[in-house]
């Protein structure tokens, strides 16, 4: 049985349909990439999955339970965590305190929460910055802090919204390594990413959205050669070529 099933989900805002009739499944232990041109509805779909929006039609099945319309914090307790495309750390708190705040979801005492937080910071290579105020962190570390905070809630499913955007090459390698390690720990990942090379290398399967609809679905190699996907990204090729 799949961990997450998106079942004919439609989300419209007034007359605008941001996500239209999208269905796919995420199996336990895999990394699924969610790609598509800007405005394709990827983040909206994330917001529907983690309960910020209620789907207009269709349902989200998480751990064999229909969770559409359930509150975000309840979904988190059931094991779904997410990061944000625009990083949202608790700015005026230290890195450690940021992670402690989310570790409290599963732990009741400060000591235990701090222990979990330190473990997660080690895991995400942020232990050295534990006492830095998070406002002052460079972007690469702030993106990792987002991941750390999500991990501290001990999720089964992790939704990563562009955790690699804007990183320099060395930060990229570090983050990719962390995502791989997360997978090894048995956490399922659904990831939105624009970086094609990365998404193709780490994903087990890829789902492609365009204008709110799912246009393709398959392994990275299948997607890379799919003509509808190439069209969505690069436009339709003119017949007879475009030589001037």
């Amino acid at each position: 049985m799949s961990l997450l099933r998106i079942d004919n989900v439609t989300k419209s805002f007034g007359g605008l349909t941001a996500v239209s009739n999208v269905s796919f499944e995420v199996e336990k232990g895999e990394i699924v990439g969610l790609i598509g041109p800007n405005g394709a509805g990827k983040t909206t779909l994330f917001n529907v999955i983690n309960g910020f929006y209620k789907p207009t039609r269709g349902s989200i099945i998480f751990k064999n339970e229909n969770v559409s319309g359930k509150k975000t914090h309840k979904l988190c307790k059931r094991g779904m965590a997410r990061t944000f495309q625009v990083v949202k750390p608790l700015q005026r708190l230290s890195v450690l305190d940021n992670v402690i705040a989310s570790a409290y979801v599963r732990e009741n005492t400060h000591k235990k929460a701090q222990k979990v937080a330190m473990e997660v910071l080690e895991f995400t290579n942020l232990a050295g910055d534990a006492h830095v105020i998070s406002k002052g962190l460079p972007l690469g570390k702030r993106k990792r802090l987002e991941i750390a905070r999500a991990l501290a809630t001990k999720p089964d499913l992790l939704l990563l919204d562009e955790s690699f955007a804007g990183l320099n090459p060395s930060e990229l390698n570090e983050s990719i390594e962390i995502v791989r390690k997360i997978k090894e720990d048995g956490i399922t990942i659904l990831i939105i990413e624009h970086h094609m090379k990365i998404i193709m290398s780490i994903s087990d399967r890829v789902v492609v959205l365009s204008y709110g609809e799912k246009i393709a679905h398959g392994t990275p190699t299948e997607i890379g050669t799919d003509s509808t996907v190439i069209e969505a990204y690069l436009g339709v090729a003119h017949e007879g070529g475009a030589h001037a």
């Binding site: 608790l90 708190l93 002052g136």
Partner: protein, 349 residues
């Protein structure tokens, strides 16, 4: 420097000895007001400074507490001191349904709702004459002639408030309140039931403010709707205490309470009568008139102070303490100072 660590204890010792040493009813009265404002300001700071839900309606809870204490005497014939217990409780009873409905609103919209609550409570107290005697108000006999008992009760209340908030902010709740302040969406997605915890924060704040209101009834012996449900004398004053002292700092409201009561008194009495004396000494009709206007314009003085505070000390006296020292050339500038500003609201237990 260890002096910062011991400063709260030194201050407490000074406050305990104050009325014994000073033995002046007027200054004791002012200090009772300061201590009462420490309670209200700290409570406001919990909901607005730490949890980020700015309230313009603290008077709703303050007045509820005061009226509870008053009505215990006029309707039940009990001692008004029961108000210290039930006043806070009644304020929470008002706060809970209000919070349950209005915490769906965010930012300025929530602030406007608190403003409405303030006005609704004032109107209820004015119109429901069979219960509250409306504009006539409630007059009770004070239990003590001396101000000392009131002073020590107010001091105990202020200390309790500061300790309670310190404990809360060092716990899981503290982390949750700060998470909600920093980003509600992020807090939700990290498993925090933001609606639920905002209600808790408001409940604690309302309880403390209600108890302060009950103390006010006991101490002053007279209340009417325009005094205890006053928007500018209570609700706005609570905000000023918070802003001037330092929003989201632990001891900010305590410092703010002292500064604001002092400023209020300074304006109200025209620099303790000095302005009027000087004006009269000049024997000019015009200057005497002007002096009279100035002494009556203490509310405007508040406004100017807040504008100055926001312009030059956006983090309040406590939050910008290093800035003040630097301005007075008592401390050499160093690079660490930027971090001091950032440290505000840090939930270190």
């Amino acid at each position: 420097m260890d002096i910062k660590k011991y400063l709260p204890y030194i201050t407490l010792a000074v406050l305990v000895l104050f009325p014994i040493v000073v033995k002046n009813d007027y200054y004791t009265h002012l200090m009772i007001l300061v201590l009462m404002w420490v309670v209200i300001g700290s409570a406001w700071n919990l909901i607005a400074g730490y949890t980020g839900q700015v309230s313009f309606g603290d008077a709703a809870f303050f007045g509820t507490g005061a009226y509870t204490a008053g009505l215990m005497v006029t309707k039940l014939g009990w001692s008004p001191w029961w108000g210290l217990l039930f006043g806070g409780f009644m304020a929470v009873l008002i706060a809970m349904p209000f919070g349950w409905i209005c915490f769906r609103l965010r930012g300025a919209y929530f602030a406007l709702a608190t403003l409405a609550l303030n006005e609704i409570m004032r109107h209820i107290a004015t119109i429901w004459e069979s219960l509250t005697d409306g504009m006539v108000g409630i007059l009770i006999m004070q239990d003590f002639v001396s101000k000392l008992p009131y002073y020590y009760i107010a001091l105990a209340l202020a200390v309790t408030t500061i300790v309670v908030i310190k404990i809360v902010m060092g716990s899981k709740w503290g982390y949750y309140f700060l998470s909600i302040r920093e980003d509600q969406d992020a807090a939700e997605s990290l498993g925090i039931d933001t609606h639920h915890y905002k209600m808790w924060s408001l409940a604690i704040a309302a309880w403390l403010t209600g108890v302060a209101g009950a103390l006010y009834m006991n101490y002053m012996g007279f209340i009417d709707p325009h005094v205890v449900f006053s928007l500018h004398d209570i609700s706005i004053m609570a905000i000023l205490v918070g802003i001037v002292g330092g929003v989201g700092t632990h001891y900010g409201p305590a410092v703010g309470a002292f500064v604001m009561v002092a400023v209020q008194e300074l304006f109200r009495t025209g620099g303790f009568g000095i302005v009027m004396k000087l004006a009269k000494a000049s024997e000019s009709e015009f200057i005497i008139d002007m002096a009279q206007v100035i002494t009556k314009a203490h509310v405007m003085g508040f406004g100017i102070l807040v504008v100055l505070s926001i312009l030059y000390l956006p983090n309040g006296f406590v939050g910008d303490w290093d800035k003040i020292l630097r301005f007075l050339r008592l401390k050499r500038p160093n690079n660490m100072d930027n971090n001091d500003i950032d440290n505000i609201g840090e939930a270190k237990p």
